[in-house]
């Protein structure tokens, strides 16, 4: 039984590689410097779970957490 997922970008770790934005544009936004943060409160809409995990597994700085509520 899987619950609802949320993504979170650790601002201290993100260095702006913008891989998450390329792979899951619905789930992440970039600031004016190109550093990423989760879109809204980070809730992953149904159907985008794979993209969330894809973004996490391509972040070179290990800055993305996926939280199961």
């Amino acid at each position: 039984m899987s619950g609802k997922l949320r993504v979170h970008v650790d601002q201290d770790k993100c260095q702006g590689h913008s891989r998450c934005k390329a792979l899951a544009p619905e789930l992440f936004d970039l600031d004016e410097f190109g550093n990423a943060h989760e879109a809204g409160d980070g809730t992953v809409p149904p159907g985008l779970e794979d993209k969330a995990y894809l973004a996490k597994s391509n972040c070179p700085e290990l800055a993305i957490d996926i939280i199961e509520d």
Binding site: Q15, H17, G34, L54, S57, N58, P60, E61, L62
Partner: protein, 399 residues
């Protein structure tokens, strides 16, 4: 100049300018990695080389023991007079210098530049599309990044031959020929001073003007020296790096028909293919200077030495990447370090990705069939940035 002695013992006496390293470094890195996560050479006044992803990552994140004030391993270590912030900056000066450069290089900013890059690629292809053979390094890959960065900076694209000459003198000749390097930096500096002075009288809407109008963390305008240093950096870092990455990608596709045919048939694979080319053929090796005694992956590290920070070797570490020695164009999980790790992540990574994608897409659209010319020779650049400098290809289907 004396030619360095050929390497006979890579583990204790490596040389990253040895012709065998230049030609094919991958088996050398595999040999070194199997021996120890960090090796050392007495050459170049003392250099360590981490070969595992973990060790490269550790050095990248540790700005206390490893300084960026020198980022190229050379035969000499003259006093530092010319800096190129933020690449040669350490904390706390690094962050404000880097933040000035980031906004012009976001993915959205690159989307605006993309149409011009597509035109540049097609203008170049027009010149050789009817030829049966072409040196793709000299006539295609070489010209794309330099024209794109000239376009961004607001300097004439026709000056690109000049930039290419300076970069060769700084990055390749400069390893052993201090005079060539100093001369090239002087020429480049006077060139840019001219452009800075011109913009003081007639402001323009380009990256040089953006930098000139930027404010530092105390709200003060940047000094001409800071602007100059950043311009030098953008030119040096933005050109032969992406030239190399595009060239290595074309080289791979020329010698691997299965990947080439698949990418032509399934263009939606382009994003993962580009990331995989970046991993497998990462062009850039940076360096750090050891400031304090420490250890990397258990190996003792002493001040007075440099560290060759080989992102390309990290990207081939089988402990990090399954089938690390294979090019898998649909690799799903790819945390490659081609653009570095930590605070010095390449400012131009979004630019490089866009240029690579556009250059390969436009090439494959117009030249879906090509292969290495068996009568020609592929030549690779030496030193800090590795990529094909001569890439003879036969165009069209084999007859």
């Amino acid at each position: 100049m004396n030619k360095p002695a050929p390497v006979t013992d890579w583990v204790h006496d490596f040389d990253h300018t040895d012709p065998r390293w230049t030609e094919n470094p991958f088996p050398i890195w595999d040999e070194l990695r199997a021996e120890c996560p960090v090796v050392h050479t007495e050459r170049f006044l003392g250099v360590y080389l981490p070969t595992t992803y973990e060790a490269v990552k550790q050095v990248s994140y540790d700005t206390e023991h490893f300084s960026s004030r020198r980022v190229i391993v050379r035969n000499v270590r003259p006093e530092i007079t010319q800096s190129a912030p933020p690449i040669t900056s350490d904390p706390p000066a690094h962050k404000p210098a880097k933040q000035l450069l980031l906004p012009p290089f976001t993915p959205d900013a690159m989307k605006k530049l993309e149409p011009r890059v597509r035109e540049i690629c097609n203008e170049l292809i027009d010149e050789f599309i009817n030829d049966p053979k072409v040196d793709a390094a000299a006539r295609y890959t070489k010209h794309i990044p330099v024209r794109a960065i000239a376009h961004m900076l607001g300097i004439p694209e026709k000056d690109s031959e000049l930039f290419i000459k300076w970069i060769h003198e700084i990055l390749e000749l400069g390893i052993t020929d201090d005079e060539a390097m100093v001369r090239a930096i002087h020429e480049m500096s006077s060139y840019f001073i001219g452009h800075i002075e011109a913009r003081k009288k007639h402001p323009t809407d380009d990256l040089i003007s953006t930098l000139m109008h930027a404010k530092d963390k105390d709200g003060q305008p940047l000094s001409d020296m800071h602007v100059l240093g950043s311009l030098r950096l953008l030119l040096i870092a933005g050109i032969d790096t992406t030239w190399s990455a595009i060239g290595a990608s074309l080289w791979h596709l020329a010698k691997t028909p299965a990947d080439r045919e698949r990418l032509v048939a399934e263009p939606q694979l382009m994003p993962t293919a580009i990331e995989e080319f970046l991993r497998a053929y990462a062009p850039v090796t940076m360096a750090r200077e050891v400031m304090k005694e420490t250890t990397i992956s258990g190996c003792p590290i002493k001040p007075g030495n440099m560290v060759l920070l080989s992102f390309p070797a990290a990207n081939r570490d089988p402990a990090m990447f399954p089938d690390a020695d294979k090019v898998v164009i649909d690799r799903k999980e790819n945390r490659h370090a081609a653009f570095g790790l930590g605070i010095h992540r390449c400012v131009g990574s979004n630019l490089a990705r866009m240029e690579m994608t556009v250059a390969i897409e436009e090439w494959l659209k117009r030249i879906p069939d090509f292969r290495l010319d068996p009568t020609g020779e592929v030549k690779w650049s030496e030193g800090t940035v590795r990529g094909p400098r001569q890439l003879p290809l036969l165009l069209g289907k084999p007859r």
